[in-house]
Amino acid sequence: MEEKKGANPKLIVAVQMLSIGVILLILGLIVFFLSPIRTMASYFRISSIISDGSIILVGLGFTIGGFIRLKRLKKA
């Protein structure tokens, strides 16, 4: 049986990280800009900011991490 050479596992993880980061970052930012934060009741406002802010932070972390890993792999 012929076997085609598989993908580099490190590349797979780097692409996954970057994609996850971009999805979370864009989604988090869109939710942030569309939420009427000023008009929300205080408890809802705090919950919304913490929840959305965490998604943006996780997204940013994964985007940067994925980008760095991809760059390193390209250099190697």
Binding site: M1, E2, E3, K4, K5, G6, A7, N8, P9, K10, L11, I12, V13, V15, Q16, S19, I20, V22, I23, L24, I26, L27, I30, V31, F32, L34, S35, P36, I37, M40, Y43, F44, S47, S48, I50, S51, D52, S54, I55, V58
Partner: protein, 547 residues
């Protein structure tokens, strides 16, 4: 509402785009079915949990049951964590890895032969197709009832998104999306708990209002009710749920196991499974505890709920502001999509590895099976779509899923436990045991009208165990080479051998001054034993407070 709709559309578009972007890296069957064995432990953690949570087994159905029956619904989260995830991670996963398999039925074949593999694969394939159809139906109905989006276009869009990334990217794309869904479910839907607890005065406030003012039974607030409870008596939860169903689900559900086989190392696989018990435990706070507080909110704001399954949707629509609601619905959709994607990917793997490669097209090229995998994924999507209109309208379909689950989980646990822990168990024993256990389960359910699923699973497990032992002892034992490497005893022997070799080498080093052997151990914060112990302690505390 328009802003929320926009958030959902953007979310689906992002998943669709990322799936296509990722799929360019997939080249052969190992990439497609096992994600090139690349996933680190935290990918596994997120993917396993997201696979486990859906519309059916999660927010809508479990949330609805919690609204109706109370805290008992939390046992699906709090017992499955330590019993299912931790025990499977520690005891079973290593044997799947060592057997070098793609599917759980392949393991059964290696240990017992083709017969049991075929029966098990066919049962799960039917369960999977019905599950996808039911998830699509529930997702379509949810968006139709609460956001007034037409049913069929919604179902086609959901199928298009999840089908595209799973069909093109295989397990790697599915794991990637499951991690996104894990983050959105955890961070996007957790605020509901804090908002509700703030509004009703904490967990004590809920108890006070429901028990003291409304006269609700104290059984509503326990995870282990007494033996007369109609939904889940405590003793059956301990025997059936903890000992059989949760472990059978975690060690026997192809979608759950396949994520672990895609890990970059056995250690990542084990750690990922064990640590997934943490989000599993937190799951109760996402959709069980909020639904216990929901009746108070409904009464306070005069909201009418016609049936329990609709309670979760009504709660978030009436409570959450724009933006937060969109994110929340994205989280709910994530639950459904992650389940559909994982089951879709696993169905195609089983179709190709257990049916097509085994019986229809032997010894073809790797590329042939790779293309066949994509065709199989497409075939499963089409079959599930065709089942959507009838899935919940025709009781036979749901009856079939429930019966097959009851039929499969108990007997599977019986033969799996013996496969790994008793090397004397053989092919005729397992086959007769499995079939007897399955027939016994159906007889209990259909003939004697036993309704408690845990009770059926426990007794079918016991019957399978006894019959397999009895028939195995009456027939020839399996050959040594057949059980070598995939049973606990042989594993123990080989471990002892390795320890002896290592000690001999260390002694020799002193005499001959050889270079010290480099042994890499994970850092303390990734130590499996510490995590497993911490998780078990948390579960004991939860049971102490809520049991």
């Amino acid at each position: 509402m328009h802003a929320d709709f926009f958030i959902i559309v953007v979310y689906l578009a992002l998943m669709f785009g990322a799936g296509i972007f990722f799929s360019r890296n997939i080249k052969n069957t190992a990439d497609y079915f096992l994600a090139a064995r690349s996933a680190p432990w935290f990918w596994i953690m997120g993917a396993v949990w997201a696979t486990n949570i859906g519309f059916l087994h999660g927010y809508l159905a479990h949330g609805g049951a919690a609204y109706e029956w109370g805290l008992i619904q939390a046992n699906f989260e709090w017992f499955q964590g330590p019993f299912g995830y931790v025990l499977t991670g520690i005891f079973f996963i290593a044997f799947y890895w060592r057997a070098g398999i793609y599917t759980v039925p392949q393991f059964l074949e290696k240990r017992y032969g083709t017969g049991i593999r075929t029966i098990y694969s066919l049962a799960w394939l039917i369960i999977f197709v019905v599950t996808i159809a039911a998830e699509l139906y529930l997702g379509g109905m949810f968006l139709k009832n609460f956001l007034h989006i037409p049913f069929w276009p919604t179902v086609f869009v959901l199928t298009g998104v999840v089908g595209t990334y799973t069909l093109l990217g295989g397990l790697g794309a599915a794991i990637m999306m499951e991690f996104v869904q894990f983050v959105i479910m955890m961070l996007g839907t957790m605020p509901l708990l804090f908002i509700l607890l703030h509004l009703v005065g904490g967990f004590g406030g809920i108890k006070n209002i429901l028990i003291s003012q409304w006269g609700v039974s104290a059984q509503y607030f326990t995870v282990l009710p007494d033996i007369h409870h109609p939904y889940g008596p405590g003793p059956w939860i301990i025997l059936g749920q903890c000992m059989v169903v949760t472990i059978g689900w975690c060690a026997g559900h192809q979608s759950m196991v396949q994520r672990n086989l895609g890990a970059r190392s056995l250690y990542d696989s084990k750690l990922g499974y064990v640590v997934a018990a943490i989000p599993k435990t937190l799951g109760a706070f996402l959709y069980v505890v909020p639904m216990i507080a929901a009746p108070i909110i409904f009464a306070r704001y005069g909201i009418f709920v016609e049936k329990a399954d609709a309670a979760y949707g009504k709660l978030i629509l009436n409570l959450l502001p724009t933006g937060m609601l969109g994110l929340f619905i994205a989280g709910l959709l994530s639950a459904g999509l992650s389940s559909i994607g994982s089951v879709l990917n696993s169905s195609s793997t089983m179709l190709i590895k257990d049916i097509y490669e085994k019986f229809l097209a032997k010894r073809k090229s790797d590329h042939h099976y790779f293309i066949a995998g994509r065709v199989a994924t497409f075939a499963v999507i089409v079959t599930s779509l065709l089942l959507v209109p009838v899935v919940l309208k025709v009781p036979l379909i749901m009856w079939l899923e429930q019966t097959l689950l009851a039929m499969a989980l108990g007997p599977f646990m019986g033969v799996l436990v013996l496969a790994i822990f008793w090397r004397r168990a053989n092919t005729p024993g397992s086959l007769v045991g499995f079939i007897t256990g399955a027939v016994f389960a159906i007889t209990l359910q259909q003939g004697f009208g036993v309704k408690i699923f845990f009770q059926i699973s426990w007794w079918s497990f016991v019957v399978t165990l006894l019959v397999t032992i009895f028939v195995s002892l009456l027939t020839k034992p399996p050959k040594k080479e057949k059980v070598e490497g995939i049973t606990w005893e042989s594993d123990f022997e080989s471990m002892v051998g390795a320890i002896v070799e290592e000690r001999a080498e260390t002694k020799a080093m002193r005499v001959t001054e050889m270079a010290p052997r480099k042994i890499t151990r994970p850092p303390w914060y990734l130590n499996l034993k510490y995590w497993a112990t911490a998780i078990l302690l948390v579960q004991v505390l939860l049971l102490f407070f809520f049991g």
